[in-house]
Symmetry: C2
Subunit: 768 residues, 2 copies
């Protein structure tokens, strides 16, 4: 762990004491979002110290011109980037003539920041002595409304501690913002209009090239000791910003407050010519009721989310805080109501990685959303890929594939590839497998087959075609081989026969064939439509089958393990425990070639296959592979510890499982990877959820039944979680002695616990 300043607390993330070296990390950790928009925890008032300003609107992106040292055929010329959006939270604060800026204060005391996860708000308070020796106390609270997802609200107050003074609040809107992560320092926003109406202001802007139109807006109320004042602001309007200046003489001991309401209306949801009107309507419907009432609604909305999604852990505050932090941020990032959105790896907490969708969604996030939301949410995530199928086919064509073969992009916002490292973009093709696996997983969990005839089968056909064409026949091996790939372990590039890739390729083909047969048998009109569209022949399917049936898998007879790739055993097999600590993390200490020729594994690769296809292997096989590969694994991907935690738990290695759990759940809180200032690792947070529910809880779905093999780390007294399984909600409480099951709903549910069938009746606690 690299940072240790967050106070352990079951429901809140708390920072105490002002340390400017923590500002950027805290801006990430205390980020707030409501699925439609989100922002880093930047200060409302001006701050001249190191800061990373960020405000983001879901689905609004910019196609930045690619930057590359040496061009390779097949790279995208442009690709989508997460886009910093106009700032609406800013409030310049003047005490007398002195601007409040924590970086220039003579002293800052009692600084406290709290992200209240239970209720969904961020607060900050401190006392400060300004350069002019005036002492003030500041309290600020803000939230992005879950109920009205175009609106955010801020309550910002200043109390004069040692002097009378004129206080000036200058709430502003600013569309003259920049991105940290641009390739060519291009301007991304074109400001169209800056306007004002009474206490309200509006800036309309559009993104260059993508032409997303948005309106950012604000309205403010001023209070002296909680009594609303009627101050007519001075207005400063310029080409890309507008500032209202509210000035008030305030007595020593008194408190001047501003309630600022603001947000975005976006042409993804409104007519682009109606954005100001829509913004007015948002303000009309909310501001009058006031900050407090909006906050009450926020608490209610979060309460509903927690009611379903919460995981409790007793006896281990840090573990409890960790899992809630993960669940909270997942819900801030994606709520599942819009099939055109997805779960960005940094959510609304930073710009890094660009694009919003990785294989993380299918491999790590879908189980969480399936179990804690209505199943339509997971279906929306699958539909997102169906909607991108044409672009995945175009993407494959650019790389020389044909006949409807689909290669989904490694990173995307709109279906187009957003990345240009050849070893990733062109070679990390296993991503296609995760997309097929998610269809399987959705059907396995929800029992809803309808997605497959309606959409999924076309995706499966495109993917099967890709694998068929991508595999080549080696006369030398008399088998099909897949050459030149990067597996999930990105610390190997351009390897031959990555076992995970070959295995999932084989599985994809078989799964596609199986589902073609099912659709043919039971959904004949869909079958006809799909066959007409795809022009899939029996002969082609026979070729697929030949590839799947004759796939090569590298194996070591000596070690009795599948080899991660051809030639793995030729490496110097020195385990991580024998690697000097000064060399870690290797991705910061070593040049790339050295990483590549080392045996070190960034994240589960062969073991990822054992996770997905658990039923295909015995526990002894898992153990052998775990013992072979984990000692070489440096876990330098955020996606690594969760899978290892699940598998360690399965192997009854509870101490190791617990260590991996802490690492995955507190990855950002404790900044294991030295990079929390860039934003949080949102997608791996769903892996944390899996490591409790699937790892410790041992939950699986087999033959349309939930099964459990509950275990508990010795550090915990108890833990509980709920899952939504086929429209019934099952609560599971595990303590050191027994497991309780509780069911909401009307009908009995048969589950399997430690291999035995248990019938749970609604509202009737069953203890096993």
């Amino acid at each position: 762990m690299n940072l240790d300043y967050i106070k352990p607390n079951e429901w809140s993330i708390i920072e105490e004491g002002f340390d400017s070296s923590h500002v950027k990390a805290s801006e990430s950790l205390f980020s707030i979002g409501n699925g439609a928009m989100g922002q880093r925890a930047n200060f409302e008032e001006s701050y001249s110290g190191p800061t990373f300003q960020g405000s983001y609107i879901a689905g609004v992106y910019y196609p930045d011109k690619t930057r590359v040292g040496w061009w390779k055929n097949g790279y995208p010329e442009y690709f989508a980037k997460v886009l910093n959006a106009p700032n609406w939270i800013g409030i310049n604060v003047y005490i007398g003539n002195e601007q409040l800026d924590l970086h220039t204060c003579k002293n800052v005391e009692n600084f406290k920041r709290e992200l209240n996860m239970k209720e969904g708000w961020l607060s900050r308070s401190f006392t400060a002595t300004l350069p002019n020796d005036i002492q003030i106390k500041v309290s600020a609270k803000r939230f992005l409304s879950l109920e009205k997802d175009e609106l955010g609200a801020i309550d910002y107050s200043v109390t004069l501690l040692n002097s009378d003074a004129v206080i000036t609040f200058q709430p502003f809107l600013d569309s003259g913002i920049t991105n940290e992560d641009t390739n060519w320092d291009d301007k991304f926003w074109d400001t169209l209009s800056v306007s004002q109406e009474d206490q309200r202001a509006f800036i309309q802007a559009k993104t260059m090239k993508t032409d997303f139109y948005i309106c950012t807006f604000m309205e403010s109320q001023i209070f002296n000791n909680e009594i609303q004042l009627n101050i007519k602001p001075e207005i400063d309007k310029a080409s890309t910003h507008i500032t209202f200046s509210y000035q008030q003489k305030v007595d020593k001991g008194d408190t001047l407050s501003i309630h600022k309401f603001g947000g975005y209306t976006v042409d993804r949801n409104h007519d682009k010519y109606e954005l100001v009107t829509s913004a007015k309507s948002v303000l009309d419907n909310t501001v009058a009721s006031g900050f407090s009432e909006l906050l009450e609604k926020q608490k209610e909305a979060w309460s509903k989310i927690w009611d379903m999604a919460d995981i409790t852990i007793e006896g281990d505050v840090k573990a409890q805080q960790g899992i809630r932090f993960n669940i909270f941020h997942l819900n801030q990032t994606y709520l599942g109501t819009d099939a055109s959105l997805n779960i960005g790896p940094k959510g609304f907490t930073g710009e890094k990685y660009g694009g919003s969708t990785y294989w993380d969604t299918e491999a790590y996030c879908i189980p969480f959303y399936m179990a804690t939301k209505d199943q339509s949410v997971a279906r929306n995530l699958l539909t997102y890929r169906y909607n991108h199928l044409e672009k995945a086919i175009e993407n494959a064509e650019k790389l020389g594939f044909k006949n409807g073969a689909a290669l989904y992009p490694m990173v995307t916002m709109n279906g187009e590839e957003c990345h240009n490292e050849w070893e990733i973009t062109f070679e990390e093709i296993h991503r296609n497998g995760a997309i097929a696996f998610a269809i399987f997983n959705y059907h396995r969990y929800t029992g809803d087959f309808s997605y497959i005839p309606e959409m999924g089968l076309e995706v499966l056909i495109g993917i099967a075609r890709f694998w068929h064409q991508r595999a080549t026949f080696s006369t030398n091996k008399n088998k099909y081989v897949i050459l030149g790939v990067t597996g999930p372990n990105e610390y190997e590039n351009n390897v031959n026969n990555n076992w995970y890739t070959n295995y999932i390729a084989q599985w994809c083909i078989n799964y596609a064939i199986e589902n073609i047969a099912k659709v043919q048998a039971y959904y004949s009109s869909d079958y006809t439509r799909i066959m007409n569209k795809s022009k899939l022949s029996k002969a082609e399917m026979k070729e697929w089958k030949s590839v799947a049936d004759n796939m090569y898998f590298p194996h070591s007879d000596k070690h009795q393990v599948y080899l991660q790739q051809d030639g793995f055993l030729d490496k110097e097999l020195i385990t991580v425990s024998n690697l000097d600590k000064s060399q870690r993390p290797i991705n910061q200490k070593w040049s790339w070639d050295r990483i590549l020729r080392s045996p070190y594994i960034k994240q589960a690769d062969t073991l990822q296959g054992f996770y997905f296809f658990e039923d295909h292997f015995t526990t002894e096989e898992l153990e052998r592979h775990f013992d072979f590969y984990e000692p070489f694994t440096v876990h330098e991907s955020s996606l690594s510890p969760c899978v290892h935690s699940i598998q360690a738990a399965k192997l009854d290695r509870m101490e190791q499982a617990y260590t991996f759990y802490l690492r995955t759940s507190r990855l950002d809180l404790d900044d294991y990877n030295h990079e929390v200032h860039e934003g949080l690792h949102i997608t791996s947070m769903a892996g944390t959820w899996m490591s409790i529910v699937e790892g410790f809880g041992g939950m699986r779905v087999k033959n349309n039944q939930l099964t459990f093999e509950p275990k508990i780390p010795k550090q915990w007294d108890a833990y509980s979680f709920k899952v939504n399984f086929r429209h019934q909600i099952l609560k599971v409480i595990v303590n050191q002695n027994e497991t309780h099951f509780e069911l909401e709903g009307n009908t009995d549910l048969q589950i399997i616990v430690n291999g035995k069938t248990v019938t749970i009746s609604p509202n009737n606690l069953v203890t096993v």
Copy 2:
């Protein structure tokens, strides 16, 4: 071949007829240089059509900020780029008020360009009708003086064909130039002063960051019908340029001419505060004698070069033109007098590739310079690498090596790495081997061992240390392996056990050990100095030896060939002849992953090893490897055809050898690779020389003797070449029936011809 507009001619490169689509290609093909500076064949007068302006000064570079999409540890932050230098050739021409611009003329006739290689000058003539209907005839001739290498001269004349007119010549200097190949569009030159003195002008400028100071200068003379006029020019002086305006009323039928003299003085050769003074001195010593006398001296200087370096071919004009074009450009690029300079892959003909030194110098250029110049030239090229040894050690340290291991950069100007593709920069490590091989080759050819104790042994030790550390022991194979490399065939990246790399690594270690012993035995004070400096122990050398003795070489028992790398046989082995022509060149048609998993070979790789280490293998082995690999070779590197030509000749496949010869010798003239507009392939031109002397002539040095196995393509009547062998000059003339040898000097020379000893006496033709 893609272009076919150059007229076949034994001594000149000739273009007839104006075609604006050929301008950029001709700017490359007709480039001129004198080793110290060079320039593309840009027009003197303004040209508004597509053009690539370029003027270059040897050794003057700029450290551009690296551009990269995704950073990898170990990449250089900055690297040197070939730098476009201030323009001194420009002459704006006005006829009346109309500016001459071939892109806007009503018509252009009798356009002819000639690069006279025998005499070292470039000329151009045409008649044109201007938009104002005035018809003119223009003749221009220019050269960069070999004798005074800071000076160039232009004779530019305009004849009025159908009208009297005022003609204005505006010779200018311009330091406000840009580079085509910049990473960030940075400004590279800082202009320090613009000054004028009578008919002379000077611009002093320095490069940003590298602080190379230069002065570009000009002086002009005006003639009417060859009678010098005394016109006082109007002067336009601005921050980065200075223009002299000479105006003269000229009668129909008369000719107004300007002789412009200009060039650069550079602080690599002068005190930076004396550059204007030095420029004046250049002008003082040359202008007065006039254009014609300077041109006569130019002819004499080129005559001396040709006397030694010329290769004649009888009966095949295109083949003759090709080889002279290659020899001419090599001599324009590098004359060998300055050990801080080297042979850039594009010479003075373009910016592409940046940096000046690749392994091309050692692998391809040294034989040409050894045989056609004084042997000090080759020694200077070796000294260049010795001078960069400390930086090569630093470069290796950046990649995790230690204890004086040296990795020479892939591309460099000053010893620092200039490239940042991990698969090249970090992995194409065989370049180290070529540097050691050049030391061996120099000693083999010249017999001069002194370079090794004085400098070379330290280089060999650094290189041996690198290989020792870079190889790792595979317990699986019970051999040392070299993992994660790119061989000479850059269409494979990050492969294991590239045979060429493993072989040259083994050879380097053995060669270093052998030379340590020699130096110990015969140069004890050098030995002591080097051992003290390198701290090399017997124990370390023993470890080296263990690596060399136990090196792994991939081999196919079935095919009885060494495998280019592990796993090569798993590819789909479809030969190039079975590849659809529409797919070629694959580097323009295919995405990188597709190239990598294909069997296609960019240039000799295993066969490059058979070329370097010919004596280690039987002819039968060569034949087997040639037959196995050549059918997969696409020759998309300029360095490929020459080696294959040599080996085809050795295998008596003369038709194939001839085809490869034409391809290497006319690569640029016929634009085989669709890229001549970017500049010429200078380093591969030395390979063309090798394909005649070593390929057809069969020349080798064995046991301190020249040996020959002369062959001749059936398309030729005869060919001849000269080599400087250990201070004696041997001329070889081969025809369809016999070979003649002629020797300059005082002592007899014993050579081996087709296995038999032949004694050649000076000035006595011997026929075999």
